[in-house]
């Protein structure tokens, strides 16, 4: 496979990014005195940095490679992940859920669920999140290795090693503050690099009209310039996109994902928490274009080499973006773009590792080993960053030969519990009537439904495979129904028990920051 030849200027730019991000991260390790400083940055984060961090925490190598491949295969419909799946839930969360979670003064989403429902629900979701995050760290490392191999000819262990060392150094020492402020730098590099790829690619393809003409000539691309596809489309039927992605997966991700929510909990005030989410929504208007357009450009320019995706063997889709980069970008620009991809990997990985550590210490370790000093929990949190990184590396090696499309793997992981999590969060935050027993029943029913639907393809064959978007929707519905029915059959909580846990029963004053 053809790989990029980095010239000295390119290498200098990549090195400059890596040194800057490490130095910046280490600079912000100063002033970490307790676990609150480490896990919530002492609640001192500015809204603009959190907004940028939210964007890059959501976009890693898996999205860059996966969305370019899927953009080639399916076209504009992939932008729905950042439009209906992001703008809609992010704006709703900005004005309703985030300021409320900030006021509740929690460190983690399972901590809120534990206070609203019971310890079992908290422990269950904390365990699942921990497993999910380890899986996510693995998928991030695999996809970054795929990218660096295709782009630079690096081997698996070299790619994983460089990524793990850079991220491990400042994430272990600096906690959330180092993560968020280095993410802000990575966000700028990512936008510049991705924009340059799109601009140069469009120029080569003859502009937007040239792109449309080239793709329009193919006989299998009739839906490529539509965001909303027919109801019988095999992969992205519009009802599943609207209900599964827009109403379940998107909201669950932006309201219930610890890696996302945690940085917002570290802002200075409720208003800054809200502003960070709105800023994220503004930035997210351009990201779908930056991530999906390379797939369409690749289709227009390299269809002869890559061919029809229905004939693709394992891993061919992962070549779309590297092919574009290797063939289009001149010296200097190549360095910026490679730096941008490293920025995406670093920002994505540090967020998940930092959040996994927060979650395990707050929701699991403190329950098992209570009554220790704050310094002890801080040390455990820092040690867990290293443990999660190493576990992620081991998991990456394990899944590397199995998962062809890492993006789909990521979505499959999420669907097992995103629907039930969202149902419990919505009922917990918005209604007084949801009870502990109801939450437990809803959780079991929802996760059971997701597991059953996901297992269908293995038990009954691929013809009965259920799209992950439908799995998310039906597990959400099952969990919602189970929680409502059992809650109505059990004794409701009194108002004092729910103060600060339900949107309509606020705490009496804002916690001190």
């Amino acid at each position: 496979m053809e790989t990029a030849k980095l010239q000295p200027l390119d290498m200098a730019l990549v090195a400059a990014y890596l040194i800057s991000v490490t130095a910046l991260g280490l600079w912000f390790t100063r002033g970490i005195k307790n676990s609150r400083d480490y896990f919530l940055a002492g609640k001192t984060l500015p809204w603009w940095a959190v907004g940028m961090s939210l964007v890059v925490s959501d976009i890693g190598a898996k999205d860059m490679i996966g969305l370019a491949a899927d953009g080639y295969r399916y076209g504009l419909v992939m932008m729905n992940f950042d439009f209906i799946g992001c703008a809609f839930p992010v704006l709703a969360a900005a004005f309703l859920f985030m300021p409320f979670l900030w006021m509740a003064g929690v460190y983690t989403v399972p901590e809120y669920l534990g206070r609203r429902y019971n310890q079992t629900v908290r422990t269950f979701f904390a365990l699942i999140w921990a497993l999910f995050m380890m899986g996510t760290v693995g998928t991030i490392l695999v996809s970054s290795a795929v990218m660096f191999e295709a782009l630079l000819g690096w081997g698996f262990w070299w790619s994983v090693g460089v990524t793990a060392v850079v991220v491990g150094v400042f994430t272990t020492a600096g906690g959330l503050k180092a993560v968020v402020l280095t993410d802000a730098l990575s966000c700028v590099v990512l936008i510049v690099g991705a924009a340059l790829t799109c601009i140069l690619g469009l120029q080569r393809a003859g502009g937007w009209e040239g792109l449309q003409t080239a793709i329009g000539r193919m006989d299998w691309t009739s839906n490529h310039f539509h965001l909303v596809l027919p109801a019988d489309h095999p992969a992205f039927p519009w009802p599943a996109v609207l209900l599964g992605l827009g109403f379940v997966l998107g909201p669950a991700y932006w309201i219930g994902n610890q890696a996302i929510v945690q940085r917002t909990l570290g802002t200075r005030s409720q208003n800054q928490a809200r502003a960070s989410y709105v800023f994220c929504a503004v930035l997210k208007l351009v990201f779908p274009v930056l991530l999906v357009l390379p797939g369409l450009i690749g289709l227009a320019l390299f269809h002869d080499q890559l061919g029809d995706p229905s004939q693709w063997e394992e891993g061919v889709g992962n070549r779309v973006l590297p092919l574009l980069i290797v063939n289009l970008l001149p010296t200097g620009v190549l360095g910026i773009v490679v730096g941008a991809f490293m920025a995406g990997v670093v920002a994505n990985l540090d967020s998940y590792i930092n959040s996994a550590s927060t979650l395990v210490v707050t929701d699991l370790y403190r329950a098992v080993v209570p009554g220790r000093t704050d310094a002890h929990y801080l040390r455990v949190g820092q040690a867990l960053v290293v443990v999660f990184l190493l576990a992620g590396v081991a998991f990456a090696r394990l899944i590397q030969p199995v998962f062809g499309s890492v993006f789909e793997a990521f979505q499959t992981f999420m669907t097992f519990f995103q629907g039930p999590l969202l149902a419990l969060l919505l009922l917990g935050m918005l209604t007084r009537r949801a009870t502990s027993q109801g939450g437990l029943a809803g959780m079991i029913l929802g996760v059971g439904t997701a597991v059953a639907l996901n297992s269908a393809r293995f038990v009954f064959g691929p013809e009965l495979a259920v799209s992950y978007l439908w799995v998310a929707w039906w597990s959400f519905v099952a969990s919602l129904g189970g929680t409502v029915v059992v809650s109505l059959l059990t004794r409701p909580y009194d108002e004092d028990r729910l103060r600060g846990l339900v949107c309509w029963i606020p705490v009496r004053e804002e916690p001190q920051t």
């Binding site: 703008a87 809609f88 004005f95 965001l227 519009w238 208003n271 038990v459």
Partner: protein, 78 residues
Amino acid sequence: MRTLLGLLAAASGAQVGAASLGAKAAFVGVFALLLLWLLFLPARLVDEEAVRQPWWRNTRFWAVLVTLAQIWVYAYWG
């Protein structure tokens, strides 16, 4: 179980045999509802009561702008 799953998958598809215009309207409609919600949101939920912010620091203004952009995106590209 096989029958149940088959019915479920079929029901999911069957619920929505709508034309593409209806599909586009559904997406635009979601953002139109969000727009209405944002416009009529009580001031206490957006911290506008204490100090009047200039427009460029008003989170509601930017949220409305993003929502309008999304309505245009789905109306044009849907």
